[in-house]
Subunit: 464 residues, 2 copies
């Protein structure tokens, strides 16, 4: 479509224009991109709760179009005038005060958002992948055009977390954010914990129950959580963190044995997104570590009781101390709640003047490689039952300057099926905190020892 | 001091003036009223973290005065220029862009805030008593003068809860807010639960540990929680709710026996602030119930695991579902974190233009009397061990249209010290949900029965 077509020209007349006096009674024009689960829930609320939203905003919100991929589907339940559906998203974004982007992915979402901003619209999005990949570009465009870019729905669904970190804690110093950021993986790990079942069969059950996608890769490999961790780290540390900075390990390697080992330790295994501030040199210089991996956390930690598909974000701040935010991390209605909170916020800015805070990247802290992250390891070894084994194992830890917190040794004289075997020992070692590179090198060296038959499992321990 | 004195005239020149062009590089002038625990923590952060705060705000925040009751005390640790201390709060508020009120109480806090606003300052306060008593007056003044009134610190200390309810959930419909809003009472109830000790000795222990004041009335009688519940209800339901609307019962009557009875039920007792939306007539008209009282909640409820002096607020919203916010509800540093988050927010509004949302009272729902609140009762009775007792008791419930969920009967044949007694029975009854008036009338009628020796305890049950 050409910008010079008569239709576009008449749209342009209606678009915000800094030289014309704004009409203070005209409704704010809202364009919705995408009518999937979340988009449908947003459309329904915009339509059915219009009076409440107007009272809270100070102006009516008028849905001026819903961009869909395919026209003609029956969407009568949304309560939206069928004439508002369009397949021309590029045109729609040029004639709105607020654009809600819920189509996901990088293209064409990115171009549509940039075009919307260039045409003067504030943007509300739930697109974590796009923010984690192109956040700075989008922020710069919002800044250039004097519009808002809000994205509460991109992290932990319905849970208010972007606004608390960005606004409520703006006068504090955040040291650590640990989140259960993906509902599918929490459901799977929680079910493995309650049933003792293995990973594969539990994923199949989660798929049958609708908690996991047919292709669960984005969830179980940690991609989804990594994008969210990048966004949280950017906000918490006033530093640009992209998905490429996030160390990522999924839960596909977590076995029923690992879960059982965690139970024996009084722990549960969770897939955690961890954003951490660390002192990196003797002069007190700081860096940050951003990573997603499964880890044991003690049952007494507030995150340990987050069950099923719930999400939670645990924040440690210098003055505020420990905070936790808990709720539903996905689903149409919960995510729509976060989207609409943002819509009301950016609409209030239109009505009352001003705009929300933009990108804050002033601190510009270095993002450390995974090897520099400080963590603790839980290592299970299958070793020969000989005298001196523990001494040799302990020596390997000492050589890497990794300090051992506890060792538990158990002699095994039969197989899992009860057949007698030559005596061997299971050694379970939990370390004190050390750099991941040193811990990882220790495990490699242990695997080389002739007295070590097998490194049965290696898990990080967090939250203590 | 006269407004016409030369000093005042020169201050007035520096004050915000809509006709003069604002100086976009001048620092924002911050006045602090009160240098107690929270005020001192705020002053320290304003001084020591000035660079970070400037980067986040977009302008430097300059502390221009600290109003204290008595001059001359040593406050060197605040890092504040001693010349900034003043006992003339009334003068100080006339020469600031942002006034932080941390003196508490109604007078002179109210007049100082109103004067600050009249002189063009935005106000940040942690004064829950004042907000619960005079919120509408303060909001009206903020609106009249085009300034912000922020008060995150007034509810649940460091926990971001005002902003999530007001902003993040602005596009949702909040049905219920249940909060553990007072750290002292939670500490006491939690300690009673772990130790089995009684109320009086536990309060003494809490006082010795600094968790309870020498005069604990405001906490243990629920006044503090009631003020916070009023604020939460106002925000959640877009309705003016003052402290006078809040039904309030403290924890002084909670006995070791009640705690034990809760344990047998798989519950814990918490002092809860409950703000609830209820349908009040057949046409679907709504009212709200706001109340503070001790209640049993099941161990599986997220609020049950809130230990020691921590606070938490559990929110149920139409789209978002269940959310919980957890953290420290009091203390100098945690509360200062909430204050400074607000300071940065109102400062950003000064820099970027605009102001935050004002009072939202459009829904104007009726606040129901306690008798109309729907709840469940746990009633313990000491009854004669005769046949037909249960039938008579059940009849009383039925006559008041209160439905019984469970009954547990236990025959007692000896005293607590082992002396044989005539057989009698302990009856424990848990009801389904009913109006509090009907439940309360049921208990009164039970007490009149000749087969009931004593109504041993009556506790509400929530959160299921």
């Amino acid at each position: 479509m050409s910008d010079l077509s008569p239709a576009a020209a008449s749209d342009a007349t209606a678009a915000p224009d800094e030289t014309a006096a704004p009409d203070e009674t005209a409704p704010l024009r809202v364009a919705l991109l995408g009518a999937g689960t979340v988009g449908s829930a947003v459309a329904r609320t915009l339509t059915h709760e219009a009076d409440d939203l107007a009272a809270r905003t100070g102006r009516r919100l008028e849905l001026v179009g819903v961009a869909v991929r395919r026209a003609g589907r029956d969407r009568a339940d949304l309560g939206v005038d069928p004439a508002l559906f369009t397949t021309d998203a590029a045109e729609l974004v040029t004639r709105a005060d607020i654009v809600i982007e819920l189509i996901g992915g990088i293209d064409p979402a990115k171009e549509l958002i940039l075009s919307a901003m260039a045409h003067g619209a504030s943007v509300v999005t739930g697109n974590k992948a796009l923010l984690a990949e192109a956040g700075p570009t989008l922020y710069a465009a919002a800044d250039e055009h004097g519009v808002d870019l809000y994205y509460e729905a991109a992290v932990a669904g319905a849970i208010p977390i972007v606004r608390p970190i960005r606004d409520s804690l703006a006068g504090d110093r955040i040291d650590r954010v640990i989140g259960i950021l993906n509902g599918t993986t929490n459901f799977v790990l929680d079910a493995m914990d309650s049933t003792g079942a293995g990973f594969t069969e539990t994923v199949e059950r989660a798929q049958a129950l609708g908690y996991a996608e047919a292709d669960p890769t984005a969830d179980v490999e940690g991609f989804d959580a990594a994008a969210k961790a990048a966004i949280l780290a950017s906000l918490a540390f006033h530093t640009r963190v992209g998905i490429e900075h996030v160390h990522r390990e999924g839960i596909t390697e977590v076995s029923a044995g690992d879960i059982a080992a965690a139970k024996e330790m009084g722990c549960v295994i969770k897939l955690l997104g961890i954003c951490e501030r660390t002192v990196v040199d003797e002069s007190g210089g700081e860096g940050i570590s951003v990573r997603v991996h499964p880890a044991m956390i003690p049952l007494g930690h507030p995150l340990a009781s987050v069950r099923e598909a719930f999400n939670a974000v645990f924040v440690e701040a210098g003055s505020a101390g420990e905070l936790m935010f808990y709720g539903q991390g996905a689903g149409g209605d919960p995510t729509a709640s976060a989207v609409l909170g943002d819509v009301v916020a950016v609409a209030r800015h239109r009505v009352a003047g001003g705009k929300g805070p933009g990108e804050s990247a002033y601190a510009d802290l270095p993002v450390l490689p995974m090897g520099r992250a400080r963590t603790r390891y839980h290592v299970s070894l299958d070793v020969a039952d000989r005298s001196g084994v523990l001494a040799k194992v302990a020596q390997v830890f000492a050589a890497h300057e990794v300090s051992i917190e506890t060792v538990r040794q158990q002699v095994v004289t039969e197989d899992e099926d009860g057949t007698p075997t030559p005596p061997r020992a299971a050694l379970v070692i939990v370390t004190h905190s050390a750099e991941d590179a040193a811990l990882s090198a220790t495990v490699d060296a242990l695997a080389e020892l002739d007295i070590v038959r097998e490194v049965t499992s290696v898990l990080r321990v967090e939250g203590s």
